[in-house]
């Protein structure tokens, strides 16, 4: 990985982390959902900054070059994050269903659905 590539990767990762922290600060992003993003950004910074680590991982996975390793791991982290959000969305879909059902039952009980209780 050339020094320019390393600097670019570090700048992108640090910028991403700053953006995420600002989103959390402005309450646009929940803290618990930001942790994976921050860990990913931190991982990219460490991997980009440490040439020895890059070489070791490149050799381990049989990649063509160390830049492939860095961006490959970043891509892998993104896949894992997407999977994590898919799981969270599935849980939230169930929660929305439960809330909607409870609301319907409450409205029926209090006669708020336009029909009085018998």
């Amino acid at each position: 990985m050339t020094p320019r590539q390393r600097v670019f990767a570090v700048i992108v990762a640090v910028s991403l982390m700053v953006l995420i922290i600002d989103l959390v600060r402005r309450r646009k992003l929940k803290e618990e959902l930001s942790i994976l993003w921050l860990l990913t950004g931190f991982g990219v910074v460490v991997l980009s900054a440490s040439y020895r680590l890059q070489l070791w991982l490149t050799h381990l996975i049989g990649a063509a070059s160390s830049s492939t390793t860095v961006f490959g791991f970043a891509f892998l982290f993104l896949i894992l994050i997407s999977l994590h959000y898919s799981v969270r969305l599935s849980v939230m879909a169930d929660q929305i269903k439960t809330l909607s059902q409870e609301l319907a039952l409450m409205k029926a009980k209090h006669g708020e659905d336009g029909h009085s209780e018998g």
Binding site: I21, R25, R27, E31, L38, Q95, L99
Partner: protein, 234 residues
């Protein structure tokens, strides 16, 4: 001064009744926030005379507490005490915890297990973690808090309204809330209380995921520092 006790509970059917009965001796009303329990927690709490706020889904300890704050704010209570449903916090300590709040000496009284004795014995790693966050609170807010993770607290209406509105950490409301309140110039005082080890060996505050807790807490405290101050002028 009207006082509400709030007791967030998740699957504590075997213990909540005793906590409610003892707490009712010291406050006007006890509200149990049933955080989506799958057992008979709600009915047992109701049987003991508590007002039950039943969340249809499990939202977590912080959200359950905030539900209690919302109820207290809406119903116009002057003060609030919060305690756990597992018997770790002795309701007999409520008057001592409330006293500095009622007397106007502080806005929030925090029950400290390290100042009051009791049978609480946490794991070594947890004690180290508590010490670490205690030092962090001192560094960031300038006040020594011996038990920053204590969920046994009493507060006046100003604190109730502050915590009921706006952002509130939903999973681990501990040191980050203390740092936030201290930096907004609320007066926080510690009161020694007897605290027992949780009968089940678990606690809402203790982590089965200690690493996640530390990371999340550090991030939350960092964000509290960064946020534009909503300081009150006193």
């Amino acid at each position: 001064m009207s006082v509400l006790a709030i007791v967030p509970a998740y699957n504590e059917a075997s213990r909540v009744e005793g906590v409610v009965l003892r707490a009712r001796k010291h406050v006007e009303e006890v509200a149990v926030i049933d955080d989506g329990s799958t057992d008979e927690t709600a009915s047992m709490a109701r049987k003991a005379g508590a007002t039950v706020l039943r969340l249809p889904i499990n939202l977590g300890y912080g959200a359950a507490l905030q539900t209690g704050y919302l109820y207290a704010a809406k119903e116009g209570f002057d003060a609030l005490v919060q305690l756990d449903a597992d018997g770790q916090h002795d309701p007999m300590e409520i008057p001592g915890l409330l006293e500095p709040v009622i007397e106007g000496e502080c806005d929030l009284a925090l029950g400290s297990r390290f100042l009051g004795g009791g049978t609480w014995r946490g794991a070594a790693l947890r004690r180290v973690g508590m010490r670490f966050f205690s030092m962090l609170v001192k560094l960031l807010a300038g006040q020594v808090i011996t038990d920053p993770t204590s969920g046994f607290q009493a507060m006046n209406r100003k604190v109730i309204e502050r915590l009921a509105g706006g952002a509130y950490p939903e999973d681990f409301p501990d040191a980050d809330v203390l740092v936030m309140l201290l930096r907004e110039r609320f007066r926080v005082q510690e009161v020694g209380v007897v605290m027992r080890s949780s009968p089940t060996g678990k606690s809402m505050h203790s982590g089965i995921r200690p690493i996640y807790y530390v990371v999340k807490m550090l991030l939350s405290i960092f964000v509290v520092i960064l946020r534009r101050s909503e300081r009150r002028t006193r």
